[in-house]
């Protein structure tokens, strides 16, 4: 299937396409100069706050470097921790941002910041990145924003239609999708019975709910449900992802992205290494290295990597100082993220930290800058303003500035 056919197919109905075209014309969504190629995004969410100095900014030989070793990678001059040998061989496709700095040292607040681009203020909710991308991509018959392994962050003022489809447990989700599929006839009956009430109440909410019922009725026949059935993947390909939960989520993510999903977040915890940091980091890196590499390879082989951003991040870095329990504590002052695909440059390093990884010494950026880079890669103007539910307008990215060296 050629790229064009696939996209037309996934774009949904013709009506949806026209609505999309019109919307873009009205809002001037794509800035003239924009070269955004990204159409999809997968976030590997490292819950707990991954240690930057034991992953993508290693400091071997320094007094706080610990036993973590550094290895050469496919990107010349870029060294990463030896815990990630397979990713090291693919660093030509991935860039590291070593200079993200924030003020949020609490898990919840850090997670909120890295999911929405804004600090948390109770009662003033901001949309998650996945919801923004759902909003900015064409209408579809299937959920566009999927969260694997966690409930996911919400759409706030972008509206419930951009909420995450949360799959906390893959087999269970597949079961319930199939159960709904078996109820197709009953759902049709229910919609017929709804007719009288709907006619007497020409309200938008009812039209919206009917539309959801219709989508659900059809969902079992879409590639979305088939994508979640990992047993249909050839066993040789399945093996490359391994049998770990993270591996299965990566495989499901690839299949979901192929089926037309626009944004997938994969959850992996285990990074809150206050105790016994090195053994734990080694263990989690061992879990993510091969599946992440397989995901990169498959997206590239299928021609999807060029329009799919792969982003690895967590809520903060960790202290260079090693504590009394051989652990590292929360350290938002230096946080790193790794990203590539979707037309972004690979093999580069943005920013630099000092000898111990305690301070950013070059090209400091904030989370809004990271977000601005991402939306720009999607061809969306980071300065575009949205109306929030509280009357004012706000940019999607808290006035971030795109990181130029990743976009050129």
């Amino acid at each position: 299937m050629s790229c064009c056919t696939r996209r037309t197919f996934l774009g949904g109905s013709l009506g949806g396409f026209f609505a999309y075209a019109l919307r873009h014309r009205e809002e001037g969504l794509f800035a003239q100069e924009s070269t955004g190629r990204a159409r999809r995004c997968v976030v590997l969410w490292m819950d707990g706050g991954p240690s930057h100095v034991d992953t993508f900014d290693p400091k071997p030989g320094e007094e706080t470097g610990g036993p973590t070793k550094a290895i050469e990678t496919a990107a010349r001059g870029v060294r990463i921790a030896a815990w990630l040998p397979q990713i090291a061989r693919r660093m030509n496709r991935l860039s590291i941002v070593r200079s993200i700095s924030s003020k949020e040292g609490d898990h919840l607040r850090g997670q909120y910041l890295f999911h929405t681009g804004y600090p948390l203020v109770e009662g003033f909710a901001r949309p998650a990145l996945g919801a923004m991308i759902s909003k900015e991509t064409p209408e579809a018959r299937i959920p566009k924003y999927v969260s694997l392994g966690a409930a996911g962050f919400g759409p706030a003022f972008l509206g419930a239609s951009h909420a995450p489809f949360s799959i906390e447990d893959l087999p269970q989700a597949l079961d319930s999708l199939r159960a709904v599929g078996r109820k197709k006839e009953r759902i049709k009956f229910l919609r017929t019975l709804d007719d009288d009430f709907d006619r007497a109440h020409p309200a938008e909410v009812l039209a919206g709910r009917e539309e959801m019922l219709r989508k659900i009725e059809e969902l079992s026949d879409t590639p979305f449900v088939r994508a979640l059935d990992l047993d249909t993947e050839p066993s040789r390909d399945r093996e490359r992802y391994g049998t770990s939960t993270f591996g299965r989520r990566c495989l499901a993510a690839r299949r979901l992205l192929e089926s037309g999903v626009r944004f997938v977040e994969i959850h992996q915890d285990g990074w809150d290494t206050h105790v016994d940091n090195f053994a734990k980091v080694g263990e989690v890196c061992g879990l993510i290295d091969a599946p992440w590499a397989a995901l990169m390879d498959d997206l590239a082989a299928k021609g999807l990597l060029d329009e799919t951003i792969v982003l690895w991040m967590g809520e903060f870095g960790r202290t260079p100082t090693i504590n009394a329990r051989n652990g590292r504590d929360h350290y938002p002052r230096v946080t790193c993220a790794v990203l590539g695909g979707g037309g972004l440059q690979g093999g580069r390093v943005v920013g630099e930290t000092d000898r111990l990884g305690a301070n950013v010494v070059k090209d400091q950026v904030g989370v809004p800058d990271l977000f601005a880079t991402l939306v720009q890669a999607f061809g969306v103007d980071p300065k575009r303003r949205f109306r929030t539910e509280f009357g004012g307008t706000a940019t999607l990215t808290d006035n971030g500035t795109p990181i130029k060296s990743l976009l050129q």
């Binding site: 919840l108 948390l120 203020v121 109770e122 009662g123 003033f124 909710a125 959920p143 966690a150 409930a151 996911g152 962050f153 919400g154 759409p155 706030a156 419930a160 239609s161 909420a163 995450p164 489809f165 949360s166 319930s176 999708l177 159960a179 709904v180 109820k183 009953r186 759902i187 009956f189 229910l190 017929t192 019975l193 709804d194 009288d196 009430f197 709907d198 007497a200 109440h201 020409p202 309200a203 938008e204 909410v205 009812l206 919206g208 709910r209 009917e210 959801m212 019922l213 989508k215 659900i216 969902l219 929030t388 539910e389 509280f390 009357g391 004012g392 307008t393």
Partner: protein, 444 residues
């Protein structure tokens, strides 16, 4: 139709009361604007909406039959207000409004809810409730009210202004409000009331909230009216300024109206601004004055609203017309909250044995994705996944004829078309369809 409206107006104006009241004021507005209101709903519809609005569930079939045999609406409202489910349900919606469903900063949602439940049970005056919430100090597990400030402690001024004054200072946090009178200075001076606020983590997930007088050294805060605290207990002064201000009584009255009508006279109900004026100003003034006159007596206000014809307008209408909605010419649809949905399913299907699952049901349908703002509880928030999950629940099928199933779930008998469609269907299919229908899910 005009002549009927005039008649209503005439009756309202020359009746015993000097005040025209809710219906008289609406009739006057309709007269002026040439609006034709929807007819009144029938007794079964009345009972369904009153039960959902006051005790948070649809009527059981025995309650429905009893009411239709003796449809005394005022007595029914009294009965519902006296039910223990009234303070329970109202504390649930108010907790959602104040703290959402997630818990931030060790705030104990249940503690706040139990505290509110007691206040509603005792019919505490609402200005006292609000003042206690604004000024609360103490330990989260001991003093339930403190969990509101604790949850909203990042920027309490924003949430408090929005909830109790209907004023959105959100924009003014960063710059002067683009289309309202509030400036960044107003916000900063309001926010200063909370400078002494200090929270400490205590063991076992508890927190202590108090004002530290050492932090009250800087410039004095200033309320939006210009008032400044006279004591060093700034939050107490603020609570007093808020609850004696005009925006407070107007916001309270508007909130109650929103709860019952599904639309505020100012809508959304937390956005009073120069650009968002009341749709029926005289009605808002009247209700706000009533609130003050009754000393913020929640039950008295509810009785007043529920006794009006306005509360009994049918939800049926020919075409969507925002102008008619703003003038309350027909009843708005309100989606059920997860609490209402669960309790309604249990009541309709005699499924008391599922009661244990209530908390997990609510968590499922709120989810963390909606750990967001629930200031406007009737906003439609269902996601595809919510609907899908509901469709996978297999509701219990009670015994009974088709008529009985309809009475249980929709509080009415089926019409000819529905009888036709249901012919030959198993009861389980019919229950599935009705329990997931729009007519069931929306309060109409």
């Amino acid at each position: 139709m005009i002549s009927r409206t005039s008649l209503v107006l005439a009756l309202a104006l020359c009746g015993g009361a000097a005040e025209p009241g809710i219906d008289g004021l609406l009739a006057r507005k309709w007269e002026e604007t040439g609006v034709r209101p929807a007819p009144l709903c029938d007794d079964a519809e009345f009972l369904r909406r009153a039960s959902l609005d006051l005790i948070g569930r649809v009527p059981r079939i025995d309650e429905l039959k009893a009411f239709l045999a003796k449809p005394d609406r005022a007595a029914k409202i009294d009965e519902l207000l006296a039910s223990p489910d009234f303070p329970r349900f109202w504390s649930e919606t108010w907790t959602a409004m104040l703290n959402g469903y997630a818990s931030a900063f060790n705030s104990q949602r249940d503690g706040l809810r139990f505290w509110l439940e007691k206040k509603f049970r005792d019919n505490a005056p609402f200005d006292k409730i609000a003042a206690e919430l604004v000024a609360a100090s103490g330990i989260s597990s001991v003093e339930g009210s403190v969990n509101f400030i604790l949850h909203n402690s990042v920027d309490p001024a924003i949430k408090i202004s929005r909830t109790f004054l209907g004023i959105r200072l959100d924009c003014a946090r960063c710059h002067d409000h683009p289309f309202d009178r509030w400036t960044q200075k107003d916000y900063e001076e309001m926010a200063r009331f909370f400078v002494p606020l200090q929270k400490e983590d205590l063991p076992a997930g508890n927190s202590r909230v108090r004002d530290n007088p050492d932090r009250a050294g800087g410039p004095k805060p200033r309320f939006l009216t210009g008032a400044q605290p006279v004591t060093s207990r700034w939050r107490e002064d603020l609570a007093y300024f808020i609850t004696t201000s005009k925006p407070f009584s107007r916001t309270f009255a508007n909130r109650l109206w929103y709860h019952f009508m599904g639309r505020g006279i100012v809508d959304p109900p937390d956005d009073f601004s120069l650009k968002n004026k009341p749709s029926v100003p005289a009605l808002l003034d009247f209700l706000a004055e009533e609130a003050v006159r009754t000393n913020f007596d929640v039950r008295a206000m509810i009785r007043k609203i529920c006794a009006s014809d306005a509360y009994r307008r049918s939800s049926r209408h020919d075409a969507r017309d925002p102008r008619l909605e703003a003038l309350f010419a027909y009843r708005m649809l309100k989606p059920m909250t997860p609490e209402q949905l669960f309790d309604s399913l249990v009541a309709a299907l005699d499924a008391g044995e599922f009661r244990k699952r209530r908390d997990s049901f609510i968590r499922t349908f709120v989810g963390r994705s909606f750990g967001e703002d629930f200031s406007n509880v009737w906003r439609y928030r269902e996601t595809v996944q919510d609907v899908m999950t509901k469709l996978t629940l297999d509701p219990k099928t009670p015994d009974g004829s088709l008529d009985e199933l309809y009475l249980r779930l929709l509080s009415r008998a089926p019409n000819a078309r529905e009888r036709d469609l249901c012919r030959g269907r198993a009861p389980a299919e019919i229950v599935f369809a009705l329990a997931n229908s729009n007519e069931f899910f929306f309060n109409h």
